[in-house]
Amino acid sequence: MELLVASAIGVLTSAGLYLVLRLRTFPVILGMSLLTYAVNVFLFASGRLTVGAPPILSDGVAVYTDPLPQALVLTAIVISFGMTAVVVMIALGAYLGSNDDHVDDQPEGLQGPEGDLS
């Protein structure tokens, strides 16, 4: 169980990091999503892994799972979801505007047909 969760976080993070280091917006955004998935699982695991235990006080139960990381994960999921939507919209705007979806700064003269508008 621990091995499975830990390796899932590891694989997601490494794949996410690799994609984030790409040059074009689509892979970078995909990488960001993978990273946020990884961090969500990580946060979830930060309250220790307990299987089949209730998160709230009930009679006759001795083992509980920590409810706080679940609340943290919910917040993190909502925020990362919203942020990903924002970055997709801004990246689309930038791509449609300059016909170029590179994340990095392009040298002068290599930019889209509009050139540098600043």
């Binding site: 946060l43 309250g47 220790r48 990362s80 942020m83 505007g97 889209g112 600043s118």
Partner: protein, 513 residues
């Protein structure tokens, strides 16, 4: 329980949707609501700062839940001063945005502006690390909207970089929070301060990783070299009033470092020793050097100002990384100065843009109002470069003085003094190209007549410069106050006991009146 301390968060949070929903098509109403809101914020923030000035620590328990379980807001000297600083800066920036008409060049400027203020105020007031993350996200998502306000390809491209860099920062923040929670089982700052000391010395691996991750996150926010790459192009491409407001955002990172690393991971904590003198100080020295070299090397005025912001953050971080009461007091003095100086320069760079096609550092024919703009630039550059008589000089003296006792005094003095010289050269070069050489360029006859910037724009810059002047004249009083602030930070026991020992709903059921 006094409710005023949550007002700096609730007021903009209510005002922003009201502006969007009720005043969507009425620019005048939006402007008056926004200005009224910020004025009210200044009054509230001044009241809070006054209340905290005698050392009182105000605690606000949301929904009356006791501290480690509920979220708390805490107002001490430092956080109330930062709130007041934000409100005053917000007012000047808003005046400029209205005066220059920037707020009409896109949708929802005022609503986003209020949300941005809400996030910054919340980040300063919260007493909970996860809540700090949430307020970081609030201020970031508002800043994404403000950053691409008025559109344009260059701005959108810079916006993509800005958003992606900050998303990675947020992910890192969550990793840090996860590891802190896994190690200690709490995210309340006061509770953490106690629990971290209880970790036995041979089990500190996890908490050390968490401390370094957290420092990385705050260093990204504070634009510390080598994590500064998001700053130059995003600040340069952002609309000028927005960039001026962003001058406080790097300070949020500095504030978070001061708060977390004086309270949770204090310098005498065994587990995190060496973090500051070994890592933070060299990075800060490098930031100062690179920022000021960037000032000299920049080809555009807005980039030049952005690099000067990096340099001044380097100065702030040098002073913080000493982690002595004198160092923190000096850094707090410099934070106020650098916020106003950075904002002033961003606004002036927009005044320069009036009548020019771009901000390239090349001579172009003089336009109406150039003389006044040049004078303002002169004052702003003096402030930022740290020449007498303005507060940059005093701040720099305080930093040099605070570092005199340390082992690395030679390095600090050498870097600070050399980079000051370089920045003076950079500003002098920019100013002489922009304002003096332009006199020798023949005016273009068929160029359309450009009217001078609005009086309100000049007023906003004038208010900022007057604040810098006041910061200089009352330097003794301000530094005295930041010294008491640092003393409060270095004895966190009252803070911890106020937060943890105040009964809430859980400990004693309260009588209904």
């Amino acid at each position: 329980m006094m409710h005023w301390i949550i007002a700096p968060i609730v007021l903009p949070a209510l005002l922003a949707p009201f502006i969007v929903l009720a005043a969507r098509y009425h620019n005048g109403i939006q402007r008056s609501l926004s200005v009224a809101g910020v004025l009210a914020l200044i009054v509230i923030a001044a009241g809070l700062a006054w209340q905290a000035s005698d050392g009182t620590i105000t605690l606000y328990q949301l929904s009356d839940w006791a501290a480690p379980f509920g979220i708390v807001l805490v107002g001490d000297r430092l956080s109330t001063m930062m709130v007041l600083l934000t409100a005053v800066l917000g007012f000047c920036v808003l005046l400029y945005a209205i005066g220059s008409g920037w707020d009409k060049r896109g949708w929802h400027f005022h609503a986003l502006f209020q949300f941005q203020l809400m996030g910054i105020m919340g980040a300063f007031l919260t007493g909970d690390l996860f809540n700090l993350f949430v307020f970081f996200e609030v201020l970031l998502i508002a800043s994404y909207g403000l950053m691409i306000h008025a559109g344009g390809n260059a701005r959108l491209r810079a916006g993509v970089q800005y958003v992606l860099f900050n998303l990675i920062g947020s992910t890192l923040f969550l990793f840090a929070l996860g590891s802190i929670y896994a190690e200690t089982g709490t995210l309340n700052m006061a509770d953490l301060a106690i629990r971290v000391t209880a970790i036995s010395p041979d089990e500190t691996v996890g908490i050390r990783v968490a401390a370094v991750l957290l420092l990385l996150v705050f260093a990204i926010k504070a634009a510390l070299v080598p994590l500064h790459f998001w700053l130059p192009s995003s600040y340069a491409e952002a609309p000028a009033p927005v960039a001026a407001l962003f001058a406080i955002m790097t300070k949020v990172g500095a504030y978070a470092i001061i708060r977390v690393y004086t309270m949770i991971f204090p310098p005498d904590l065994e587990a995190t020793s060496g973090l500051f003198d070994l890592w933070l100080l060299p990075a800060a020295l490098l930031s100062l050097a690179i920022g000021m070299v960037g000032v000299l090397a920049a080809k555009r005025l807005d980039r030049l100002v952005a690099f000067s912001v990096i340099g001044s953050m380097g100065m702030v971080m040098i002073s913080i990384s000493l982690f002595t009461p004198e160092g923190i007091a000096a850094s707090l003095y410099y934070i106020v100065h650098s916020t106003f100086a950075g904002a002033t320069l961003f606004l002036i760079s927009d005044l320069v843009r009036t009548g020019r096609s771009d901000l390239q550092l090349s001579p172009q024919p003089p336009v109406a109002g150039a003389a006044l703009t040049a004078a303002l630039f002169f004052v702003g550059a003096i402030a930022m470069a740290g020449l007498p008589p303005l507060s940059g000089f005093i701040g720099k003296l305080l930093v040099l003085n605070a570092s005199y006792e340390t082992d690395l005094v030679v390095w600090i003095w050498a870097v600070v003094l050399c980079s000051s010289l370089i920045s003076i050269l950079g500003f002098a070069r920019a100013g002489s190209i922009l304002f003096w050489k332009s006199q020798s360029v023949a005016p273009n006859e068929d160029a359309p007549e450009v009217s001078r910037p609005a009086a309100l724009s000049y007023l906003a810059v004038g208010v900022l410069i007057a604040l810098l002047g006041a910061h200089t004249i009352f330097a003794g009083q301000v530094h005295g106050y930041t010294t008491t602030m640092a003393a409060q930070l270095f004895s966190p026991e009252p803070y911890v006991s106020t937060v943890l020992d105040t009964p809430g709903k859980l400990s004693t059921p309260k009588e209904h009146n």
